[in-house]
């Protein structure tokens, strides 16, 4: 018998602290597998966010830095400018990237920083206990939107991929999901393309991964996958918004 699937060497042995069924674990694994398969682990420097993934530096087997909330793209900019040949990635949630870090991500994309951002979108603030995120859906309840998000008061959820895809130096932008095995496989392909584009020096790359938060959605892990498919995908359509082939 041959081994067809085992834990990648790009992940440490430390068990994940995430809630049962949290898709952070899947996404960490996909990123790590891509780094191993592209032979990048030894020259990778990752930047961890503030959010549930704040301890991400314990799980990836490469150099990691922790950034202040929302500032990961700025830290990554400094890292990549000093280490132009490194594979630099940021791993950010929807609060980190789309709320407090909205300026930093836009400007990293504007400058075409040759980094890869993994954007974990679960439509809620996980670590701080379930407050509204910029990506929280209309009618969805959160602790700071106890009556449900109302468009007149709080606007409509932010579609980060579509928005960043308008920036010329954001050369690879794709939205994927991890709610079933087929989509997990597609997500990994997108993450791989993103890192490849970075290493080819093409520009800023981002993969938005639709994810679950069973704890703050108040659902079981299995129910959460369904909720993602039925509610998030209609508003956050999957697909590629910017591909390096288009870039002159």
């Amino acid at each position: 018998m041959a081994v067809v699937f085992e834990k990648t060497k790009a992940l440490t042995d430390k068990p994940f602290h995430y809630c049962p069924g949290c898709t952070h674990g899947i996404i960490h694994r996909l990123v790590a597998e891509v780094l191993e398969e592209l032979n990048l682990v030894e020259k990778t420097i990752g930047v961890a966010p503030v959010g549930c993934a704040v301890f991400a530096y314990d799980y990836f087997n490469c150099d990691m830095q922790e950034a202040a909330h929302g500032r990961a793209p700025a830290a990554a900019t400094g890292i990549k400018r000093v280490n132009p040949k490194a594979a630099v990635f940021t791993y950010q949630g929807d609060g980190d990237l789309a709320s407090i870090g909205a300026a930093e991500i836009v400007h990293a994309a504007m400058r075409g920083e040759k980094i890869t951002t993994i954007f974990v979108n679960n439509a809620i603030y996980g670590m701080t206990g379930g407050q509204m995120a910029p990506t929280t859906l209309i009618g969805q309840k959160a602790t700071t939107a106890p009556y449900g998000r109302v468009e007149d008061h709080a606007g409509l959820p932010l579609r980060v991929s579509e928005m960043l895809a308008t920036i010329p130096k954001a050369v690879f932008v794709e939205r994927v999901s991890v709610h079933d095995v087929k989509h997990i496989i597609q997500a990994k392909k997108a993450i791989k393309k993103a890192f490849q584009a970075q290493m080819e020096g093409k520009g800023f790359t981002l993969v938005e991964v639709l994810s679950t938060c069973p704890t703050n959605w108040g659902k079981t892990p299995v129910e959460s996958l369904k909720w993602l498919e039925e509610n998030m995908i209609p508003y956050f359509p999957l697909g590629n918004f910017r591909n390096t082939e288009e870039v002159k």
Partner: protein
């Protein structure tokens, strides 16, 4: 009115609403999330109430600035790292002489630090934090009831002097549940706000809310004006509590929840025949220098022991006030570790040269 059991953070939010606060801008950060969450629930039920979760603490303090400049009673809350983010906005509010209330539920630092209680933001609150010559009125509650009373008074102090006021709590004040009675805090006679930007209505020239004085003579004049105001505040608003000071051999200085732990130590020392007292600053700025200077002249007093949940910040102000007359010692735990009465008793005995 009956006493009710309230969680500190929620009581602080309710107190603000009772004081007439109608605008709250904040951002999630542990351990103060119940403040914005309570505001999110209550403000929509109040006529003219507005809660908004900003995209960051930086954005939140700038929303406060705009609302304050338009004459509103407005508040924000955060915890240590978030308060660091607000520093630029805070100096703008102070420089533009705008009233507002800022709540800091202090956690371990520096940097991302920890989420447990600490008192390591004293320097930040009282010695600047932001750039330029300005002061915050800093109020330090030691219980949820006191937090409720001080929050209500904070809005009046802010309006009376046109200055930002900070409530310096800690993770324990925020997370504890204690009995609270919401009483009507004595209302002050407050000036109107003809300076606010509400539209000229054709009745006057335009108001400008800013902190820029590009002519250096004007800028200096403005700074002198601010400091005349700060003199007034020092004269009128200093608050301090003393306990068991008569015949005290050792004088503790502590604030906030730490003062309650010290009081336990004082009672334990009394059982061992050691007379210990405490001076508890309630306003950290203006600082009760007078009470400490007077205690330093007290014949029975052999030494001061400052106890803080930090590496020693307020102790510097104690030393300044004691002015070399008696030795000043420090004992602290930090990072979220809480000092115990037992350790404080041992420290006091060590200073006094062993148990009696």
């Amino acid at each position: 009115m009956a006493k009710e059991l309230w969680k500190g953070n929620e009581a602080i939010a309710e107190a603000a609403i009772k004081a007439g606060c109608r605008f709250f801008f904040g951002y999630p950060i542990t351990p103060q999330n119940e403040i914005p969450e309570y505001m999110a629930m209550k403000m929509p039920q109040i006529d003219g109430g507005c809660f908004l979760q900003a995209e960051s603490e930086v954005a939140a303090i700038n929303m406060v600035y705009g609302a304050a400049g338009s004459g509103a009673r407005v508040m924000t809350s955060s915890s240590s790292p978030g308060i660091s983010l607000k520093q630029e906005g805070i100096t703008y509010i102070a420089g533009a002489e705008l009233p507002c209330v800022i709540v800091n539920i202090v956690r371990g630092g520096p940097g991302l630090g920890g989420i447990q209680p600490a008192q390591s933001d004293y320097f930040q609150a009282c010695k600047g934090g932001g750039h330029g010559d300005y002061r915050l009125v800093v109020l330090a509650p030691a219980s949820v009831q006191e937090a409720v009373d001080l929050v209500q008074e904070a809005f009046d102090i802010a309006d009376q002097y046109r200055n930002p006021v900070m409530i310096l709590g800690d993770g324990m004040i925020g997370q504890m549940m204690e009995p609270v009675e919401f009483t009507e805090v004595k209302k002050r006679k407050l000036p109107g706000k003809p300076w606010a930007t509400v539209g000229t209505k054709g009745e006057r020239s335009g108001n400008v809310i800013n902190s820029l004085f590009i002519d250096p003579a004007e800028c200096e004049k403005h700074n002198f004006k601010l400091f005349e105001k700060y003199s007034e505040i020092e004269k009128n608003e200093t608050k301090v509590e003393t306990y068991n000071m008569e015949g005290a051999e050792i004088v503790f200085v502590a604030y906030g929840t730490t003062s309650r732990i010290v009081k336990n130590a004082i009672n334990a020392l009394a059982k061992d025949g050691i007379k210990a007292g405490i001076i508890r600053p309630i306003t950290l700025w203006p600082y009760p220098q007078k009470a400490i200077a007077e205690a330093a002249e007290q014949a029975s007093v052999k030494a001061f022991l400052t106890v803080e949940m930090s590496m020693g910040q307020m102790v510097e102000d104690v030393r300044l006030a004691v002015n070399g007359k008696k030795p000043v010692h420090f004992y602290g735990r930090t990072g979220g570790m809480i000092p115990t009465p037992k350790a404080i008793v041992e420290e006091a005995k060590k200073i006094l040269g062993g148990a009696k």
